[in-house]
């Protein structure tokens, strides 16, 4: 990605502030999308995205260019989101399981859920990896390869997750998606 190249060059030139000012708009949606795909809660995902950007700001001078910038950022985001999810589950496990499920379901009454609650419910019922794949793929018209990079899994596995997720969603919505073979 040319934007990444420019950011890396700024980091290597010791111009961290400038690099960060370019990185923030370039990765805002992607970091937020990845966090949202894992946490399923808009407010929590936004808080986490903020934390991730603060971490990136602090870690940017140590970025050595061995991994691609995007891969490095996605790894930091994934780790932070998974830790946040585990912490939230630990908190919820203190409550009754049914109550916990209810709390998780209503934790983020965001605009998307309000507009299409049936679809939101169907997405929430998908297995975690399928939900992440669907979220990342449709959020910004990303390619399968980029979603694979974001999730840290092979592209073919992403295709499988997307295929199964679409089938489950179509079934859940009472329709059958006529997918090309």
């Amino acid at each position: 990605m040319p934007a990444d190249q420019a950011i890396v060059e700024l980091v290597q030139a010791g111009r961290g502030q400038e690099a960060f000012e370019r990185l923030l708009p370039a990765y805002r949606r992607r970091v937020f999308g990845l966090a949202y795909g894992i946490l399923r809660d808009r407010a929590a995902a936004e808080d986490l995205a903020q934390e991730v950007f603060v971490k990136l700001w602090q870690a940017l001078p140590r970025y050595d260019g061995r991994a691609q910038l995007s891969t490095w950022i996605y790894a930091i985001t994934r780790n932070a989101a998974v830790s946040a999810l585990r912490a939230r589950r630990r908190e919820l496990s203190l409550a009754d399981e049914a109550v916990a499920a209810e709390v998780e379901g209503v934790a983020a009454p965001d605009a998307a859920a309000a507009e299409d609650p049936a679809l939101r419910r169907a997405i929430d019922r998908l297995p975690e990896k399928q939900r992440q794949a669907i979220t990342l793929y449709y959020m910004d018209e990303r390619s399968v390869e980029e979603v694979a990079d974001m999730m840290g899994i092979p592209a073919n596995t992403v295709k499988t997750h997307l295929h199964r997720a679409r089938a489950s969603l179509a079934a859940a919505l009472g329709e059958s998606a006529k997918e090309p073979a």
Binding site: L24, F32, R42, Q58, R62, L119, Y138, M139, R166, K178
Partner: protein, 125 residues
């Protein structure tokens, strides 16, 4: 609903999911309140250097103590085994030093000062 219909519905759904307005400004305000990463790096580097220095000095102190102990033990063993010969030799050395005048006395004083200085340096770590 066909595949295209489902795709469109998903795109519409996720298009509404975004950060609240002003997200970037909030992040920039947060990082502006933090010390520069270069300063943090420098602080970490200084802490790492201090840790390495303390470790090296501790290791040297142990080595010096072990050396002093070994030399002391060897001296004791020598005195134990060859007491009369050592005392004769020491007497000769002292006589030689005092006959030699100021130079001998200065050499003994310098040796004593060095032992004292080494002991102080070891105790200060």
């Amino acid at each position: 609903m066909n595949r295209e219909g489902l795709d469109a519905r998903l795109r519409r759904h996720f298009a509404r999911v975004d950060t609240a307005p002003g997200f970037e400004a909030r992040v920039l305000a947060r990082v502006a309140a933090l010390p520069s990463p270069r300063i943090l790096e420098r602080r970490l580097e200084v802490e790492r250097q201090q840790f390495a220095l303390r470790k090296r000095l501790r290791r040297e102190a142990w080595f010096n103590a072990a050396t002093a102990l070994g030399v002391g033990a060897a001296a004791l063993a020598a005195v134990w085994r060859h007491g009369p010969e050592v005392s004769d030799r020491m007497r000769e050395l002292v006589e030689h030093a005092t006959q030699g005048g100021g130079l001998g006395v200065a050499a003994v004083a310098l040796g004593a000062w060095f032992v004292w200085w080494s002991w102080r340096a070891g105790a200060g770590r």
